[in-house]
Amino acid sequence: MFKDTMLDPAGPVSAATRDLFFDSVGLMLIVVMPVIVLTALVVWRYRAGNVAARYTPHWGGSRIVELGLWFMPVLIVVMLWFVVWNRTHALDPYKPLASGQPPLVVQAVALDWQWLFIYPDENIASVNRLVFPVGRPVTIELTSDSVMNSLMIPALGGQIYAMAGMQTELNLMADRIGVYDGRNTMFNGDGFSAQVFTAEAVDVAAFQSFVAEARNAGEALDSASFETLATPTIAGPVRLYSSVENNLFHTIMASHGSMPHVAADASSTMHAEHNP
């Protein structure tokens, strides 16, 4: 039922998230369970029909009890603070994952309504299909060529937004071979529901053959073919590109010159938004 989700982690990030989940829920139940149980007990015992129960209509407070009330929730929340502070730093999506191997860098571009993955070191690209070696960290750099998107692969861990003209980062790793679901979770229009991709954790040989397959794909990804790719498409097919124009990712970012630092070279007029 929870196959390939946070509860059945396929990588270190989602495993750590699962542990965090159980730790924190455990802590919270200490103060939440009593509420449910006590309510049931009190409601039953002090029903009007039960004249045997004590009745103190004027009892409206008690210093000691009132102070005591704050104690447990404060205690639990303070414990949670430490958990939050530590784990938020430990699980910062920008933080490179500990591993003997250098991470595989993938540049993800959110389009209407598909995902483009550029492999800068391999100089290939794929659409709606992310392939990476198992056991090796993946550093995904994200931007958007359209509205705000959010990339998530539940089996591997959390999500982060992709925004035009900006770059965010997500570090993930799979420690189990498998084909996982990935999708955009940030509503972005008509094709939203179908904006899914497969995240394939494969062994090194299979990754090499994926790269080879792409190299033989025939079409190269340059500004022109990117332009075709970027036209709104619902449930588009998987595509592979044999090569990628130099620095395409940053050209896409610069074409939406939002951020101060890229604004300078916003001269590139690549399909800028039309202003009616």
Binding site: M1, L7, A53, R54, Y55, V84, S193
Partner: protein, 666 residues
């Protein structure tokens, strides 16, 4: 002169013939509206409605109109909810019966309506009716402002309804994130409707909130100290303060988005140096306090209902007051938790996560106080109490999932999934909505003189509670499985069963609502049996029960003298619940005025004109508003005197009712 100058962007294409379902919805609205208008005309009720209701400045009638507006919008919001549940139950590897575009309009209007045109008006309605009565005041501080607030809210609601018939509604959700809502991605008028509806009703809400703050600070009964106010007044005060400080966020976010759309500016565009992240930031500076605006008055209702039906004093009044203030202040320090996944660094995320959790403490203390109020009480299980008990048990589950979401690494997994949807319905339905239902059942006899039918109330309660669990617990599960929110269809076979269960739950809620409708009819028919004009059917503790049901226009012929908490309860225990003088003073009350409907009408016209770029009409609307304000400021006579004879007659009638009841009891 060409037609685009006359009609702006408005053409016949704006009529909803693009989809049979949309056309059907529009037809229901148009026919329903026409039916109501026809009925009123047939009954020749227009003069009566105009005189007694539309032009009134009586806070009690304004309160009732708010509640009626809320109930109408509630039905619309619920139809939306049913449509979504039905769609998602069947849309496995299929398109379903709604096109994505239509589905998007549905969740956007559902969220917008539920928050702004159901939740807020319902709350403001109950606050309007009850707060002055609980304060022992004759009126609110600014009756005219109050009426204008109502009509502006209604104008906003009317804009949302109009979008169903003329044009389309936004597809950007209740949050309206750009750049999706920018002109380049959402070129239709939907987003404009959304912005205008929110801006107009935002002004109305602000006016009402100012009115409540001043009323609570300055109009309390002689002797009543702040710390002797009923808890509901405290929550109304905190909620109103939150409105004052939070609504500007909505105004700025919506206004700047409108400037982008209308004047081509670059606040939130992808290009031209726009900054989409700032929208999220400003929207949530408003949006987070907004959810506490909705929940705090509900807390106040529970704090009133639970002691009454436990026949016991409220436990820890002071603590509850301070906890409420804590929550109100803290709600301004947590807004980033709605965009943990935007990519701020770990220090920022951890800080806001920690601040969010702090709110669990005062909320938890409140929950404990309610349980301790029941402890050693004599619990009567009338429907208001049933809603309260179901609230306590269910709300803590939603609170816990809220705290889960406030842990950033967990939010990375649950953000934008149905887990989040489950969390907030878990707060809004058992929290706010059950609170509103409790308040509705509790104060209904105050407003009408007779009680709601218990049997149908219990049936509704059962269907609602069962329906709630069935409709929303599966969404938590789906959230774990990674199901995103706002999906019109999906391709994971194992999800479908949960969606089907959720649809069954929504259907159970429908039965609950059906019971409530029947309850209303049955209660009116059997009103003889539950009539209590003396005014205190539940054994209430606060001042609103110390006057007749329904209360006279001036509320209190003699202002109560207050020196303690729960003034009415104290007076009853001292054996002198009512002080009946032999001599009455005349009372000055505000005159009726057409200004409320005029402002509402102008605001609607202005909003509509701006949506459709009909600039001459917009200019007319603005000029009308300015002219009306100036004209009003020259009006001299705005009040009217109720003579002491009239008051005497009314009071004596009530005294007779009270005596009859006392005799019947002894």
């Amino acid at each position: 002169m060409n037609s685009s100058m006359l009609f702006g962007k408005l053409t016949f294409d704006a009529l909803p013939f693009y989809s049979p379902i949309a056309a059907g919805g529009a037809a229901v609205i148009v026919l329903g509206g026409a039916g109501v208008v026809g009925l009123i005309t047939w009954l020749r009720a227009w003069p009566y409605l105009w005189r007694e209701w539309f032009t009134t400045t009586d806070h009690k009638k304004i309160g009732m109109m708010y509640v009626i507006l809320a109930l109408v919008m509630l039905l619309r919001g619920f139809v939306d909810a049913l449509m979504m549940r039905a769609q998602q139950a069947i849309a496995m590897n299929a398109e379903g019966y709604l096109t994505p575009d239509h589905f998007q309009q549905v969740f956007s209007s559902h969220g917008t309506i539920m928050i702004f045109f159901m939740g807020m008006p319902f709350l403001f309605g109950i606050m309007n009716y009850i707060v002055p009565l609980q304060l022992g005041a004759r009126d609110v501080a600014f009756p005219l402002l109050n009426a204008i607030g109502l009509w502006l809210t209604a104008a906003g609601a009317a804009l949302v309804m109009a979008s169903l018939v003329i044009g389309v509604f936004s597809t950007g959700g209740w949050t309206g994130y750009p750049p999706y809502t920018e002109l380049s991605y959402s070129p239709t008028v939907g987003v404009d409707y959304w912005i205008m509806a929110l801006l107009v009703s935002g002004i109305g809400t602000t006016l009402s909130a100012i009115n409540f703050i001043v009323t609570i600070y300055k109009m309390r009964a002689p002797g009543m100290k702040l710390m002797q106010m009923p808890l509901f007044c405290w929550t109304a005060l905190c909620s109103s303060l939150l409105v004052i400080f939070a609504i500007p966020g909505l105004t700025v976010a919506g206004g700047l988005l409108a400037l982008d759309r209308y004047l081509g500016m670059h606040f939130f565009t992808n290009d031209g140096g726009g900054n989409v992240m700032n929208y999220a930031n400003i929207f949530w500076i408003f949006g987070h306090p907004e959810v506490y605006i909705l929940i705090l008055p509900a807390f106040g209702i529970f704090s009133t209902v639970i002691p009454t039906f436990s026949q016991k004093k409220l436990f820890g009044y002071n603590v509850l007051v301070y906890a409420t203030m804590c929550i109100a202040v803290l709600s301004f320090t947590v807004w980033l938790h709605h965009f943990f996944t935007m990519g701020a660094d770990a220090n920022v995320n951890a800080f806001f996560g920690i601040m969010t959790m702090v709110i669990a403490v005062p909320t938890g203390v409140k929950v404990y106080d309610w349980i301790l109020t029941m402890y050693r009480g004599r619990l009567r299980f009338d429907t208001p109490m049933l809603w309260s008990i179901a609230f306590i048990v269910t709300f803590v589950i939603g609170g816990m999932t809220g705290v889960i979401l406030s842990i950033p690494p967990l939010d990375y997994v649950f953000h934008n999934t149905l887990f989040l949807i489950a969390h907030f319905h878990n707060m809004l339905v058992p929290g706010m909505l059950f609170g509103l239902f409790a308040g509705y059942a509790y104060w209904f006899p105050k407003a009408t003189g007779f009680r709601l039918d218990e049997r149908w109330g219990r049936r509704a309660f059962v269907f609602w509670v069962v329906g709630f669990y069935l409709a929303f617990m599966p969404l938590y599960v789906l959230g774990f499985m990674g199901a995103a929110r706002r999906m019109a269809y999906y391709d994971q076979p194992e999800w479908q069963i949960y969606f089907v269960v959720a649809a069954v739950g929504a259907f159970s809620v429908l039965l609950g609502i059906g019971c409530q409708v029947i309850q209303l009819v049955v209660s009116i028919r059997n009103r003889k049996g539950t009539m209590d004009l003396a005014g205190d059917p539940w054994g209430g503790q606060t001042l609103e029960w110390s006057t007749s049901s329904p209360p006279p226009e001036y509320n209190f012929a003699v202002l109560p003298q207050v020196s303690e908490l729960d003034a009415f309860q104290v007076a009853k225990e001292a054996g002198r619940p009512y002080v009946w003088p032999t001599h009455y003073e005349p009372i000055e009350v505000p005159r009726n005025t057409a200004l409320g409907p005029i402002f509402g009408g102008l605001a609607f016209v202005l909003g509509f004109a701006v949506v459709w770029h009909i600039w001459w009409l917009a200019a007319f609307g603005i000029a009308g508003v300015i002219a009306t304000i100036i004209a009003r400021s020259f009006a001299a006579e705005t009040t009217r005197i109720i003579s002491s004879e009239e008051i005497m007659a009314t009071e004596l009638r009530w005294h007779a009712d009270v005596r009859a009841k006392q005799e019947a009891n002894s």
